[in-house]
Amino acid sequence: MLNRSFHLEIRTPEQSVYEGDVTSVSAPGVEGNFQILAGHIPFLTALEVGEIRIRESSDTPQLMATSGGVFEVLRTGVTVLVETAEWASEIDVARAESALERAQVQLTTNAPDLNRPRAAAALARAQNRIKVASNL
């Protein structure tokens, strides 16, 4: 019972990032982080910026940074649709840090044409990527 696995697919508009059998997956739901095990009832939720954690068997989990999307559980398996998904090992920390700095500068200088929610979202994404990469 403990190690029952189920099918998981993670897709982005640009490619299919992951497909395989896993024993557990946890993700950042809009109402808090959650974990799904085999046999979960059908469930549909929105995801926030955060970290997806996949466990294939008892070994160490694989980490992924995401910027939000939809998470669907059906009897047949789990499908995650996210707009971006990056493996923790593939995150370019230098790039994330420069994005973070850019967003911070934008938010502090307060230019008249600034799109505040967008800059704040960029900030959250960059912070998340740095965090996920350091969790590796």
Binding site: E9, R11, T12, P13, E14, Q15, S16, G29, V30, E31, I41, P42, F43, L44, T45, A46, G69, V70, E72, V73, R75, T79, L81, E83, T84, R118
Partner: protein, 292 residues
């Protein structure tokens, strides 16, 4: 009659052109392959998104909740936003001129019916064309096709979505080249907003989900994603169509260059023969004059 040297020079220059157009054809073919792969890579995501949206709509429909959302709202059309998707570069046959012509017609059509039109230009060709002619351009995206990113689609959608929800525009249309196949591309006019969701046929096997947050919030979020996806598909399609059009145009050009070279070689040989004949007859007549 051109001299032998002139003909030789022309042959050499046309051979150069042929090499260039042939190289461009090869590059376009490689880019086309990549563009097609990109289109295919999108499909799993798009299909799944549509299925989920369909489930949700059918579920909301059975519970007799009217589907209401700012993006579904149909209003009297007074302000239209047209997104004109061209390429950044030329040398691709009638690809750009088709889009520009259809856009101009469409603008005329709306202006006749008393609506004013604002443009979002994607691709340098349409941006330059409409800027030069003083059209009202809200925004332009150039040089995006070299390295096509999903974020660009999101940015474009963001631009017209807030104009729509603020009721500054009542309708959004996109005009682009649809990639049918490597040899067929057609210009399409598609309505992006207001959205017209298809109500799917009931899926008997489907059991309702637990929703988190509520159905309505999820529906709103998915509509946004759906719109992003449609814009993304338009960009990918236009990109593939551009490469296919360029490939065909360059293949034609190479073919034409080959024909021209063949003809010039014939002319060159004729000129050379004439020259030799003249020389021989001069020598012969010179010798005859000496003997005489």
């Amino acid at each position: 009659m051109a001299t032998l040297r002139e003909i030789r020079r022309r042959i050499a220059s046309i051979q150069n052109i042929e090499q260039v157009t042939d190289a461009m054809r090869v590059v376009a073919a490689a880019r086309l392959r990549r563009a097609q792969e990109n289109i295919n890579a999108t499909r799993p995501y798009a299909d799944k998104l549509n299925t989920i949206l369909g489930h949700l709509i059918s579920q909301m429909d059975t519970e007799n909740q009217a589907l209401t959302h700012p993006l579904l709202e149909t209003r009297e059309v007074k302000h239209v936003c047209i997104i004109s998707v061209s390429a950044d570069r030329g040398l691709c046959g009638s690809f750009n001129s088709n889009v520009i012509r259809t856009t101009t017609q469409r603008i005329g059509h709306y202006q006749e019916s008393g609506a004013d039109v604002t443009l979002i230009c994607i691709g340098r060709r349409s941006q330059e064309h409409f800027t030069r002619r003083g059209y009202d351009i809200t925004d332009a995206y150039v040089n995006i096709f070299r390295q096509l990113e999903f974020q660009t689609a999101v940015d474009v959608v963001h631009e017209f979505e807030h104009l729509y929800t603020e009721k500054k525009i009542d309708k959004v249309e996109v005009i682009y080249n649809n990639f049918k196949s490597a040899i067929l591309q057609t210009v399409l006019v598609e309505q992006l907003l207001p959205l017209e969701p298809e109500i799917p046929e009931g899926d008997e096997l489907f059991l309702d989900y637990i929703y988190e947050p509520g159905q309505v919030e999820l529906f709103e979020m998915l509509l946004g994603k759906h719109l992003n996806m449609q814009m993304w598909k338009v960009l990918l399609d236009s990109n593939a169509a551009e490469q296919a059009a360029r490939m065909a145009a360059m293949e034609n050009a190479t073919q034409k260059a080959k024909e021209l070279i063949d003809e010039l070689i014939l002319q060159r040989n004729r000129a050379r023969q004439t020259q030799i004949t003249t020389e021989i007859s001069e020598i012969v007549s010179g010798a005859a004059a000496l003997e005489g």
